[in-house]
Amino acid sequence: MLRMDGVRLVHGAGTPTEVVALDHVDLEIPAGQFVTVVGSNGAGKSSLVNVVAGVYRPTRGRVLLGGRDVTRLAVHARAGAVARVFDDPLAGTAPDLSLADNLALAAARGRRRRLSPAVTPGRRSGMREDLAVLGLGLERRLADPVTLLSAGQRQSVTMLMAGLRKPKLLLLDEHLAALDPRTRARVLDLTLQMHERLGCASMMITHSMRHAIEVGDRLLVMSRGRVIYDVAGPAKTALTPSDLVDIVSGLGDAPSDRQLLAG
């Protein structure tokens, strides 16, 4: 579903502050696969997400979504294929707009917006059903501005919005980081349900070693703009958080013996 061929991203090329954010990333994530990504700060995780979402255009290489080359498409032009959930739980919704308006906005993602009413009685009842699944009582608050919702509720709504149109890729950018432990568990559950139901490829950036190991089918470790570690199946579940911390922090560019053995 997602394919990246030799993607390189350089910020400020040719200036003294030149930074290589991504250095030849080759990656293929098939439909239905859930991939977790870890890495220290500055490893290139955000750059990876932003290149896939279309915020940055890669200096070299190609990005394909569902077989279509989207390398040169702007964020809004590829939004039909990528559903993104931000790290800031407040970033995924429009605060002053009502819950119904937010959902209606997401329901038209990736298709032409029409001059017909965005929120109709029929759509409202569909929204109520969708919200009832969250179990947060939000189905009674369609007219409320989203700003009245808590961060956890807003991130849940953002997850729901991500699934309203079938994306090819669910892009989760540390979307649990700012939530309290109970909310985090709930939103993670919702994430996994959503992934199952949509049958899309999912990529989850996380700082939690435990989530990285326990969640999903495959684990990537990034360092200095490269994917330095790529593990799936039993080898992934056999990892312990402390193994993973060693891999993420201790290595620099060169993989250690231990990592090579583990791989």
Partner: protein, 353 residues
């Protein structure tokens, strides 16, 4: 008193479109577009020249509105192509358009052949009847226009427009092309200014090169006054937004007409505009505190809880008030007298100043 009402309506109703347009830019896009000063004049100038050349009213007004919309698109183009901030692009446009408007008019001021205007059919009627029929025609235009904009805002396209103003990053992630949204917003705002200009010159019987000067500022003042009264809160309550625009525009005109009636000179009007704007901002800012203070004396608990929501739902949430609960049917009776009281208070303040 009767003249106060008719003068306010005749001066205020033609401005409803432009204030709505300014609302779209200022409150929904959170930006300022000075182009409207130029487009207002342009709309008036095109209408005047075409009518004097014998064109029919509908065609002349259509060309005026289209011309003004193009001005908005040029501003959008300046912003997108050269990354000039919208406020600066608008300033450049409004200055450039002064020259353009003088060329359209041919000389600084021209008078309209009153028989050819929208109100040509009213000639010969008793002045009072003439006034009220003028008001009816202007009100019909304003009503159709506001209904159309209100409907547009409620559509999928309008929703995208509202979302780009509140959270552009999220809107893009939801597939909204924010360049196109900006173009739509500025074209619409300037088309509104053009329509207002066309209506204004026809009702006043002349068009000059400074008709539109100060339109943006006056519009922002009207928007703020309107928000004091109708408190639209978020952009999801489109009906409230329109109510705020209507109330603000008419109240603002009432203050100006009242000031003139109270003996001030036309030359003082710019000062009154500035004072009204400052008063509206100050009231928006400090009314919550005044309300709370009153509430402490047990006199205006209701006013306090309403006023808290002025800055939008966020403040309300912080203060523990729920604007949703506020929206109940109990509000209207309490609102009207308070609003009227405030209006007359600021009017008297103006007269005194």
């Amino acid at each position: 008193m009767r003249f106060l009402v008719t003068d306010t309506l005749i001066a205020g109703l033609p401005l409803l479109p432009v204030v709505m347009g300014i609302y779209l830019v200022v409150r929904i896009r959170q930006d300022f577009d000075l182009t409207v000063d130029g487009s207002f004049t342009l709309g008036g100038a095109i209408t005047a020249v075409l009518l004097n050349h014998g064109l029919g009213v509908p065609l002349a007004m259509l060309v005026a509105v289209a011309g003004a919309a193009v001005a908005g698109l040029v501003t959008t183009g300046l912003h997108l192509a050269f990354r000039i901030p919208v406020i600066l692009a608008g300033l450049v446009m409004s200055i450039g358009m002064t020259t353009l408007n003088l060329h359209v008019l041919g000389r600084p001021s021209i008078s309209l052949d009153s028989g050819r205007t929208l109100f040509g059919g009213l000639i010969g009627l008793a002045p009072e009847v003439q006034d009220w029929l003028t008001i009816a025609i202007l009100a019909a235009f304003a009503a159709v226009f506001l209904a159309a904009v209100g409907y547009l805002l409620l559509t999928e396209v309008g929703l995208a427009l509202r979302a780009t103003g509140v959270n552009p990053r999220m809107a893009r992630a939801q597939g909204v092309d924010d360049r196109r949204s900006l173009a739509l917003c500025l074209a619409l705002a300037n088309a509104s200014a053009g329509l207002s200009g066309a209506l204004t010159v026809q009702s006043q019987g002349f068009s000059d090169s400074s008709t539109g000067t100060g339109t943006l500022l006056a519009g922002v003042g009207a928007v703020m006054l309107g928000e004091l009264i109708a408190r639209p809160g978020g952009a999801s309550r489109v009906g409230r937004v329109i109510a705020a625009v209507v109330a603000g525009t008419l109240l603002y005109r009432l203050i100006l007409v009242g000031a003139l009636r109270a003996g001030l000179q036309a030359t003082d009007l710019s000062g009154i505009t500035a004072l009204t704007l400052v008063a509206a901002v100050a009231l928006n800012r400090y009314l919550p505190e005044i309300g709370r203070a009153l509430g402490r004396f047990g006199a205006g608990g209701r006013l306090g809880s309403r006023a808290v929501a002025l800055d939008g739902p966020r403040t309300a949430a912080v203060a523990g008030g729920r604007p949703v609960a506020d929206d109940g049917p109990t509000v209207p009776p309490a609102r009207q007298p308070a609003a009227a009281g405030r209006a007359s208070a600021s009017a008297t303040m103006k007269e005194a100043g």
